[in-house]
Symmetry: C3
Subunit: 269 residues, 3 copies
């Protein structure tokens, strides 16, 4: 749990340009984890905010054209500074506007990692507008979706679902913790994206795959422990935030369930 | 509880153009109910989002002129597609801007249902700016307020308060469940509007009055059950979200308390 | 606890032009306290909303240029009407945009009170951009920071931290209640600012210092009582909202811990 522990020590400042639905849970989840959140999206302060930040999250959930412009300014500043930029393509299949925005971000910026559900990553991997209904059918093949995405963009990707995949140049991880109750609380995917950004912010070398896998694993185990306390979503959200703070290395060691599929995409990917 | 059960089966996608205060509780409440929320307000994606949605909610709580423009685009697309448009005129008496916006929406769009408190619906029924203080005085006559609103606009209306009224062409329902603690948690009126939109989304014929009455009743009983667990607002909100998911048909049958005042406005309304 | 009790009696309407992260907790906290929240930021309704409001809160957490314009319109209307305007300079050291905005608000408007943490008030007192890291170092000298701020602006100021200071013309209060867990829940500083605005709204004379000190004390004691129930942030937020409603005069009398340092700045300040 070395990366999470570094987050707790260093309290990296995560600049979130994110959607209005999840700003509150994102900030609270980052505080619980040990990171420091800042939310800002005024064009005129993007460069200053990036200058004090340790990672940048771009989340298109309630994107407007004005905020997209801010994302591009912040993203370029983050690339120049050398801090990781993490992209969450929320509902990218839902509109041409979102698709164009994500394509523009992927083309213009050096994105460290993309995190989405199967439908979102499938849409980006195939450039087919999928809309809403596709999600269910895709649950079977998250690894294949991740592979297609990686082959197209050469960007590390996390696909979340019944099982989670972390797929990048230095390895592929299949992660089996978690609870379906996460899908009944808004913002749990978005918060995971910001949690991943927090660990990338404290990685000293560029081993983003391993760090992201630990973040996904930690998050999923915290959710499993919250699920033991309740099967209802209001209470679950409260206990889950608690567990993001209190989960110990011992609990994590006990419960983690993941496979390293390959450590060298060049040979086996 | 046939309409709520259809929501649970079909998970209709509810497009909420709503205020920034309540986006999070609205999304979580809809998930708990069994519906799927989407929040979006960028003009450039309104038509695409409506194309995948099963109902549209327009809520003016933190309205801006840009978002009003998006509401008109989305509303026209929803009318064309034939999905219900539900309007929540939050604080319509508080400013001329809100009054003009609501008049514009009612005039331009085919609104399936309006949900508001007594002061809001009174303001619209009489076109008198009421401001804040009026609310208390109006509690006595929700049915009269609903009648005056319906006579002016011929739009099905839900007036919430100590008692709730559903008033439309095919019937008038007086509902007596609920708890005053709902008024101490922000967004509970707004979320009810989105819950009503969820049942309208799964109504096969146009019997919106009956479906809306069931939604109001379900919602009020869930709040009563949460009120049994606590009389304080922080805990209440958590348990209420839980109950929106877990309330059973048996509990609903046991507790529901409403009168059907008339089933034919043509004769008795 | 005379001021809090007046809030409960009169339910003042607090107009919050605030950031998107904290709108929900601010509204719920104000309801729990006994005040009435309204959030609005459309330029075209600022004058109408101020006309029905009893106090105005300006919070720059996710400020945009459009919202700054609305703040200036609302602030001028509030000054004209004679209701208190309370400013929260969230993260003012984080960007030149925020610094310029706060300077503009302090210069253009008659601000009744500013509430911030040590780093924010230090930045304003010295006009040195402090960024993020400064916060820790400043914890030692909140009183000195408040004094420097007051000397520059002649505006009553609340500096929150391990200890809290209320500093104004009619007195200086040092308050020692509270819990560090408040720093792990987003929006607790912003909500305090709106709670202070609520008591200023019911002060009959202009003794803002005494009223603000009571509000800070009430808030901190509610947090201490919530802290007795839990040491984790998800549960803490829920119980804290409960306590904002349920804290009694007896509990407050028992637990309050503050010093009146001086009642006359003219002599000793």
């Amino acid at each position: 749990m070395e990366f999470i522990e570094k987050v707790r020590e260093r309290a990296p400042l995560i600049h979130n340009i994110t959607n209005q639905v999840v700003m509150n849970i994102t900030a609270n989840g980052l505080y619980a984890l040990g990171a420091s959140p800042i939310m800002a999206h005024e064009k005129g302060e993007m460069i200053d905010i990036v200058n004090i930040a340790d990672a940048l999250v771009l989340n298109i959930g309630t994107l407007t054209t004005a905020v997209l412009e801010s994302m591009l300014i912040a993203g370029k500043a983050a690339n120049k500074k050398g801090i990781p930029v993490v992209l969450d393509p929320v509902g990218v299949g839902a509109s041409k506007f979102r698709m164009r925005a994500v394509k523009c971000l992927l083309k213009t910026l050096d994105i460290a990692l993309v995190r989405g559900n199967g439908a979102e990553i499938f849409t980006l991997a195939t450039l087919e507008q999928s809309g809403k209904g596709v999600e269910g059918n895709l649950e079977q093949a998250p690894r294949e979706i991740a592979k297609r995405f990686y082959e197209r963009y050469q960007v590390t990707v996390v696909v979340t679902g019944t099982e989670d995949i972390v797929y990048g140049e230095t390895g592929v991880y299949l992660l089996k913790n978690g609870t379906e109750l996460l899908t009944k609380v808004t913002g749990t995917g978005c918060l995971l994206t910001s949690v991943i950004a927090s660990v990338l912010a404290v990685v000293d070398n560029q081993s983003y795959v391993e760090a992201a896998a630990e973040a996904v694993s930690y998050y999923a185990i915290a959710s499993e422990m919250a699920r033991k306390a309740t099967d209802l979503p209001g209470t679950f959200q409260v206990v889950f935030i608690d567990k993001l703070m209190s989960l110990t290395r011992e609990e994590w060691d006990d419960m983690r369930n993941f496979e390293v599929i390959t450590l060298c995409l060049g040979e086996n990917g």
